[in-house]
Amino acid sequence: MAYLKKSPWLLHYDASSCNGCDIEVLACLTPLYDVERFGIINTGNPKHADVFVITGGINEMNRQVVKNIYAQIPDPKVVVAVGVCATSGGVFRECYNIAGGVDQVIPVDVYVPGCAARPESIIDGIVTALGILEEKRTKMKEQEGSA
């Protein structure tokens, strides 16, 4: 992926993380890492978002919230699960209120490792996701063309 055609906006939601990964996601947006230079903006509105960045595992209370947010993001969209909690439940896997990783309820495109995930790996994960987003967009266009 040599360049970006569009400015991808991301939506961040904390499912049941310990905050460690959340603040690292926010750190990516601030001057040291500054992903805004790539046109990436953190939005609060799912209807504006292309990339859904989610931290923490799924519990009974947020199951529906995560599904709702996912459903509100327009296609094409990609999901990035940040941290081992979002990947598999992580250290909290055996807790009674954790059903597991985010892929229990919505499809995940990129898994970012780490506990806490480092900003470098988060950026790497998001850049990978942007490639997938581009593929999805092309595929959608083809389908529209053939319909």
């Binding site: 904390d14 049941s16 603040i23």
Partner: protein, 359 residues
């Protein structure tokens, strides 16, 4: 005749990095009542004591929250050590104090940034987080982790900091103090910030005390209460005075946190001067039995870790009372009668940490 309507706030909301849900009962533009509901990040990690042995559980205790991580780990260790009569070496206590104060610096800068973002001052948010990276650099250089440090263990600490690095950190803080002063100046003296925060979310001294507020929320309402006055870890040997403000509003809460950062810098510099040589850990043998409450001061207020042992390698119970949960009733009081547009600022002014609060 105006009509009551209910506006949902959260769990997914632009000013909240973490999910909490409030039902705001509104009449005209005024909030009549705020009804909080929680549970979105509840994991149930306290029950993990049954699955992890007590020395391993430090990792779980640290992950109660990624912002106050180090102090959670240290307080848990403090509780278990007292229970088992472990004599922790002085040097380890000093190192814990230094890391705790670095955590406070990073947490307060993080909060100042989010708070600026909450009142719509984007530039200030970025500046606070830029400064915060200096603190994280030192934490990472000495512990290996930026937000989750993992350097505390039952019986001491895992890593030492050599004298050269300690000096470097202490000297680095001088320059840092200058940059911090520029930042704090905007928070305390900028006219738009002042008019956004003054007389917003007032919590009287009586209400703060009666409703059990802790930490900066309590101190901003004029009560000098800070768990560091208990003198745990190395605080007893350092000159510590709590920061108190009388304003009772959002501005006062902002001022308390801003001034506490200077206090933290002073504490770190004093600790670096006084730190004794010696071992950094002792071997812990035996199994915890009995119960104990350990108290410590988190950036958000007093935290209580309760541990109960039953003579096995697994604790019978671990319970945490975090500062945010005790600050929710005072917050509900601040919200009653406020303008709808002030809700984000007031909610943020207690520095809510939902991750801790729900565990």
């Amino acid at each position: 005749m105006s009509k009551e309507i209910v506006i949902p706030f959260g769990p997914q909301h632009p000013v909240l990095p973490e999910p909490i849900h409030l039902d705001l009962v509104i009449e005209d533009e005024k909030v009549k009542e705020a009804l909080p509901s929680i549970g979105y990040v509840h994991r149930g990690l306290e029950t993990l004591v049954e699955k992890r042995e007590f020395p391993e559980y430090v990792y779980i205790a640290e992950r109660i929250c990624g912002i106050c991580s180090f102090i959670h780990g240290a307080t848990y260790c403090q509780a278990v050590e007292t229970l088992m009569n472990v004599e922790v070496p002085e040097r380890a206590l000093y190192l814990r104090t230094i890391w705790s104060e670095y955590s406070r610096l990073h947490s307060h800068l993080l909060w100042l940034g989010l708070f600026a973002d909450g009142m719509g001052f984007e530039n200030l948010f970025m500046d606070a987080w830029r400064l915060r990276e200096h603190v994280l650099d030192d934490l990472e250089a000495t512990t290996g982790g930026r937000v989750i440090q993992g350097s505390c263990k039952v019986g001491g600490v895992r890593r030492d900091i050599d004298a050269a690095k300690l000096d470097e950190m202490s000297n680095g803080l001088d320059g840092f103090r200058g940059e911090l002063a520029d930042l704090v100046d905007v928070f305390l003296n900028d006219s738009s910030v002042r008019s956004r925060l003054k007389n917003v979310g007032v919590l009287s001294k009586h209400d703060a005390y009666a409703d059990g507020a802790v930490g900066p929320v309590l101190r901003a309402s004029g009560v000098a209460s800070d768990a560091r006055m208990l003198g745990y870890a190395a605080y007893g040997n350092l000159h510590f005075k709590p920061v108190v403000e009388e304003g009772c509003d959002c501005y006062a809460r902002c001022a308390v946190r801003a001034k506490e950062m200077y206090a933290s810098i002073d504490l770190i510099k004093e600790a670096v001067q006084k730190i004794p040589d010696g071992p950094i850990e002792v071997k812990v043998t035996g199994k915890p039995d009995g119960e104990y409450f350990a108290r410590a001061e988190q950036p958000r207020g007093e935290v209580v870790h309760y541990v109960k042992g039953n003579g096995t390698r697994h604790l019978a119970r671990h319970r945490v009372r975090t500062p945010t949960i005790t600050n929710v009733p005072p917050m509900v009081k601040m919200l009653a009668g406020c303008e709808l547009a002030d809700v984000p600022v007031i909610v943020l002014s207690i520095d809510p940490c939902i991750g801790c609060c729900e565990r």
